[in-house]
């Protein structure tokens, strides 16, 4: 999923300070799963903002709404009946959702309520970790199903650097050395020979080096 974390309340207060009527929009997809911007977080943030402004003697009208998906224009249309009545929109979706709202509504400001972080997985309750950088040319078939692009601090594609210690990365004892994980897995699978193959220099065009990326499926596109 795409993970996100809510921005500090102080930053959000400053975004909405000039306005009296706000539409606060959650998303029922990734940000709900990672507890950053779903229906529950929309409610909590609306209360926090109202209380913060109440302390300053200001009343702010916040309308709460959570869409099925904010990265899809079809669902963004559901905002149309509400948009006339507000001065600004605050989105609790990832950056994709914020931009879809901005694209649809030309005359109303939209602000992000979360920092979009990475594509990751849940390691345990309340902990998410990066797993994929969307490089567009997946190497997992060569590396035992564990990604060195997303999970090695130096993107090393051909083995561990000289800083790998007791299975941990040199940058922190809290970070696994991904090459230790890859090696352990290749061994467990009896695929140690795979390590000896040199992975050639990567073509980063598919990772964004070629400019903003787009998928066009001729069979689906109208």
């Amino acid at each position: 999923m795409i993970t996100a974390e809510r921005k500090p309340l102080e930053e959000l207060i400053e975004y909405v300070r000039p306005y009296d009527r706000i539409l606060l929009v959650g998303c029922n997809e990734c940000v709900t799963v990672c507890a950053a911007g779903g229906r529950k977080e929309v409610g909590l943030l609306a209360s926090a903002l109202k209380m913060a402004f109440a302390k300053e003697g200001k009343t702010i009208d916040i309308k709460e709404l959570t869409l099925e998906r904010q990265c899809d224009p079809e669902y963004i249309e559901e905002l149309v009946p509400h948009i006339e009545d507000v001065d600004a929109v605050m989105s609790m979706a990832c950056g994709c959702g914020v931009q879809e709202i901005a694209k649809r509504f030309k005359n109303i400001p939209v602000f992000p309520a979360v920092n979009t972080k990475f594509m990751g997985a849940s390691e345990q309750q309340g902990i998410w970790a990066e797993r994929c950088q969307g490089c567009g040319d997946c190497l997992l078939g060569l590396t035992g199903g564990i990604c060195p692009i997303a999970r090695c601090s130096k993107h090393l594609m051909n083995g561990p650097c000289g800083g790998s210690t007791n299975g941990k990365c040199e940058i922190s004892p809290d970070v696994d050395c991904v090459w230790q994980l890859i090696w352990d897995r290749l061994k467990a699978l009896g695929m140690e020979d795979r390590y000896e193959e040199i992975i050639p220099a990567k073509d980063w065009r598919t990772a964004g080096g070629g400019g903003p990326r787009k998928i066009i499926r001729e069979d689906l596109a109208e």
Partner: protein, 308 residues
């Protein structure tokens, strides 16, 4: 001979080679690098110049290489993949070679989080193995990494690092094998304090015949104090300093510690000379270059051979 590198010539002659290193200044004072060069002149075959080591900004390795070259030394251009993409790296290789620099060391580099610019973008366009492939392609095929022809290709003698002490140990010989397959000519190892472990690694290296496919220079660093020994043991990732080394440093009075560190270094070189497959030594006297001549002399590595 693949190149005009003096280091290659010394190694090919069968002599034990000696290299050392200089850290460039944290500023623009060229006299600092020149003075370090003077200390090492005639005492070693070639001198590495570090590239923003520990991810701290310093004068570029390229510029400091030129000062050493002008002073009559044989500098080794260290380059890390952390700070530059492949365009910038190849551009510097062309420039360095045009200045007569024909030996280089291909590294990935310390992570930015260790240095004074932890907020910097962490480039790593290519890794150290791919870096070796790139420099070899420039030299042997006369082509840029992207495939276009190079006018007067740079003939670099290609070095890389190996750390026998990092984990997983069982992968460390295979990691070297990958660098050999990529085309590395010489290796400088991480500082060796755990000689038993190094010898075990070399057994694995010999079992695969890797010592016959590249020259392995054993890395040594003299300790200045017991504090430095403890720091390297506990704080430097991938460094293996056995307890007995720390105890030995701590067991002498403070004013004798530096001498003890030099003794340990010389004794290590003496023992490493006996290890089959060790082709020379890389003496990294960190901000202590003035001690290199003494170490080289006491280790019986003087005079340095003349090659043409």
């Amino acid at each position: 001979m693949k190149t005009e590198s003096v280091l290659e010539k010394v190694l090919a002659s069968g002599n034990l080679a000696v290299t050392s290193e200089c850290g460039p200044p944290r500023g623009t004072n060229a006299e600092i690098i020149k003075a370090k060069g003077e200390l090492l002149k005639g005492k070693v075959d070639a001198v590495n110049v570090t590239d923003n080591q520990t991810a701290m900004v310093r004068m570029s390795s390229f510029a400091a290489n030129v000062f050493l070259k002008q002073a009559g030394l044989n500098p080794i251009l260290q380059m890390v993949t952390r700070d530059r993409n492949r365009l910038a790296m190849q551009a510097d290789i062309l420039g360095a070679y045009a200045h007569g620099i024909n030996t280089m060391l291909c590294l990935s580099g310390d992570h930015p989080s260790f240095g004074d610019h932890p907020m910097a973008a962490n480039v790593h366009d290519i890794d150290s193995v791919q870096f070796i492939q790139m420099v070899k392609k420039m030299r042997d095929e006369g082509k840029f990494q992207g495939g276009a022809d190079i006018d007067n290709p740079p003939k670099m003698f290609i070095g890389a690092a190996a750390n026998p002490f990092a984990d997983p140990f069982e992968l460390r010989v295979a990691r070297l094998a990958k660098k050999v397959a990529a085309g590395v000519d010489f290796i400088q190892t991480q500082c060796i304090y755990n000689l038993d472990k190094f010898e075990k690694w070399m057994e694995g290296v010999r079992a695969r015949g890797l010592h016959e496919k590249c020259y392995i220079l054993a890395g040594v660093t003299p300790m200045k104090s017991a504090g430095m020994a403890r720091y390297m043991k506990n704080k430097v990732p991938g460094m293996d300093v056995p307890d007995e080394v720390v105890k030995r440093m701590a067991g002498v009075p403070k004013e004798k510690m530096a001498d003890e560190g030099i003794d340990i270094c010389v004794e290590s070189i003496q023992r490493l000379k006996e290890v089959e497959g060790v082709a020379g030594f890389h003496i990294m006297a960190i901000e202590w270059e003035k001690k290199v001549p003494e170490i080289v002399e006491r280790a019986g590595l003087l005079p340095r051979p003349t090659v043409s």
